[in-house]
């Protein structure tokens, strides 16, 4: 049985007095213990929205309007705020995008670690500090003891992200949701941080939801992949299968847009147009205005996700991105 099962999740934001627009339009996913899932899509596809919705952290005035999020048999959407707090940061942890703004600038690293432990365990400050140092060492932070009394601004971006990861690990969670954990870091640091996350997940049998727009990272780290477009999942399946033989034209477009998939001396490929805002979605399949295979049918009706693909004109396995 899946550890985390999201079914038909809708997130809506009010627009005007009586209307709502949907940022997520019915997304499902399932995650087994220790499984690593990648979620990929352009900005605005609803990737982060999905991550925050899982922990019921959608910012006001947004709300989950429909669906179910089952974690270990309980529906998180039906839990009280008090009960879900016992899961947030305890059994499901998050790593945010930009470590420069994730840590509170006026509190020491130690305070921000100890408070997390104290929120979930009956534990003395002394013991909490000892555990914090242990986790800082685990994420390879040099002279971990002295970092506890440091403020975030005294650390580099890479070190700060390691601290954020250490905080996420404090309570030995079963799932880590990493929302573009390397986007804000230097390229040289990105690989280190990603390798660290991968290694930690493997060693501790933690499930990972990795949100990114970097298909290269996804290929290295994850086992399953979900491609999102305009608040929907358009393709889902084993990472290697999708990378090697995408069936949705959008997945294909994303792969073709990778620089290494362009021929030397030629212009880099880009998908024409841009993602529509959720307030102005096109009719039918949301991708059809940008899709080279779109037909009359795509204008009129939207395809359902069947066997991991939501498209009327899926690509054949051999019509993959040019290598």
């Amino acid at each position: 049985m899946a550890l985390l099962e999201v079914t038909d999740l809708h997130v809506a934001f009010p627009r005007g007095k009586h209307h709502e627009v949907e940022a997520l339009r019915g997304v499902s996913l399932s995650l087994k213990k220790g499984e690593r899932l990648g979620i990929v899509g352009e900005s605005g596809a609803g990737k982060s929205m999905l991550a925050f919705a899982i922990l019921n952290l959608i910012a006001e005035p947004g709300r989950v309007s429909q669906g179910a999020i089952r974690f270990d048999g309980q529906n998180l959407l039906e839990m009280s705020e008090h009960d879900i707090r016992g899961i947030r940061g305890n059994r499901i942890s998050m790593i945010f995008q930009d470590p420069m703004v994730t840590l509170n600038p006026v509190l020491t690293i130690g305070t921000q670690m100890v408070e997390t432990l104290k929120a979930h365990r009956k534990i003395s400050t002394h013991e909490a500090r000892r555990l914090s140092i242990e986790k800082l060492k685990l994420v390879a932070i040099p002279s971990a003891e002295s970092r506890l009394d440091a403020y975030p601004h005294e650390l580099s971006g890479g070190l700060r992200q390691r601290v954020v990861i250490a905080i996420a690990l404090l309570t030995d969670p079963e799932i880590i949701i990493a929302d573009e954990p390397t986007t804000a870091l230097d390229v040289t640091i990105q690989a280190e941080i990603m390798a660290l996350i991968l290694q930690l997940c493997r060693d501790r049998d933690m499930a990972l939801i990795l949100i990114t727009h970097d298909l290269g990272v996804v290929a290295e780290v994850t086992e399953r992949l979900m491609i999102m477009y305009a608040g929907l999942c358009v393709e889902e399946g084993p990472t290697q299968r999708i990378i090697n033989a995408p069936t949705h034209p959008y997945s294909n477009g994303l792969l073709k847009a990778l620089p290494q998939n362009s021929e030397r001396g030629q212009d880099l490929y880009q998908i024409p147009g841009s993602m529509p805002p959720i307030t102005a979605l096109p009719s039918g399949c949301a991708y059809h205005p940008r899709c080279e295979f779109a037909t009359e049918r795509c204008h009129v009706s939207a395809p359902d996700l069947v066997n991991g693909i939501a498209c009327f004109h899926p690509l054949k396995a051999d019509a993959k991105a040019p290598a």
Partner: protein
């Protein structure tokens, strides 16, 4: 150690600032008319007046007069008040407790009201109480303080007759010669109207400032992360969000204390409050030059001290600012 270095640096800066203030204050003297007109009666002849001018050194060049003034000033002697015939500094210090307690009372009022109100308005953005507070604060900013004062006197002092609107009432003398109104019921009653009036300048601004800063903090990533860590709502709000709103609040608050002192002149005048501001206005009317200069210098000194304290507090609550001279 670095605290001492910080204070030393500020002390040097303060001396420079005070020097400039004294220069400005002293140069007013020449432009306030003839002090002798206030000092002596009409029967004194012009020849006698000339003699007195020479005697008081009023005919000396500006710089030598200023040097003499400065020489006395560093010894704490700012000259005798023409009207009170006593050292000006002593006259002012007699009135200092009244003004200090007025300012203290207003600061207490606006802190205890603006912080909860600002936080409430940031958290319950759309409640009717928030709308009421926000509208009232616009009104509060727009109404000038002397009008507020007059309305206060009219409504609570005259029409309803609930509170005294005149003077300090009964005071209690503390061992070191400080008259306080905080320790007698009558004194406290007298404090209410002037303090509320004076705080009404800062209050609306502070509520809006705290609300805006708190709302900004509530929307930051670190507050989201704090929630994602599973912390209680109380801890997220008060430890993570509110701590960060304190920085701008302390900065603006420090600047506002200066404004508050300036407004004591108006408030004290309307309520006939026997403080430094009221004394200053009387001194201006009487062209009591030494008293005017002494007031300017004392208020300047208060400014310097308050600002140093604010900077010091700022370094305590903002880990990104280190005291100058401290090791990084």
């Amino acid at each position: 150690m670095h605290i001492i270095a910080f204070l030393l640096r500020r002390a040097v800066q303060a001396v420079i600032v005070m020097f400039v203030i004294s220069l400005i204050g002293f140069s007013i003297q020449d432009n306030l008319g003839d002090p002798l007109r206030e000092l002596v009666g009409q029967s004194v002849s012009e020849a006698e007046r000339d003699l007195m001018r020479e005697d008081m050194g009023l005919n000396d060049p500006f710089l030598s007069q200023y040097a003499r003034f400065l020489g006395h000033a560093v010894q704490g002697d700012l000259g005798n008040s023409y009207f009170f015939k006593r050292p000006a500094i002593a006259v002012i210090m007699d009135k200092f407790p009244a003004t200090f307690e007025l300012v203290l009372g207003s600061v207490l009022i606006f802190l205890t009201v603006s912080i909860p109100a600002g936080i409430y308005c940031a958290i319950h953005r759309n409640s009717w109480l928030t709308r009421f507070i926000m509208s009232a604060s616009i009104l509060g900013i727009s109404v000038p303080v002397f009008l507020t004062a007059i309305f206060m006197v009219w409504i609570f002092g005259v029409e309803l007759g609930w509170l005294p609107a005149y003077g300090r009432g009964a005071t209690y003398e503390l061992p070191w010669g400080w008259d306080t109104g905080f320790l007698t019921l009558d004194g406290l009653k007298h404090l209410i109207l002037p303090c509320v009036t004076l705080s009404s300048i800062m209050l609306p601004l502070f509520i809006r400032l705290i609300r805006a800063e708190m709302m900004e903090a509530m929307g930051t990533d670190y507050v989201r992360f704090a929630r994602a860590k599973g912390l209680s709502t109380t801890r997220v709000r008060y430890v993570h969000a509110f701590r960060n709103t304190l920085l701008p609040v302390v900065t603006v608050g420090g600047l506002m204390i200066g404004t508050l002192i300036a407004y004591t002149i108006l408030t004290e005048t309307v309520f006939q409050w026997p403080g430094m501001g009221f004394l200053f206005l009387e001194a201006v009317n009487r062209v009591d030059t030494p008293l005017i200069i002494a007031y300017i210098i004392v208020v300047g000194l208060i400014f310097v001290i308050v600002n140093t304290m604010v900077d010091f507090i700022y370094t305590l609550i903002n880990p990104m600012v280190k005291l100058p001279g401290a090791k990084a």
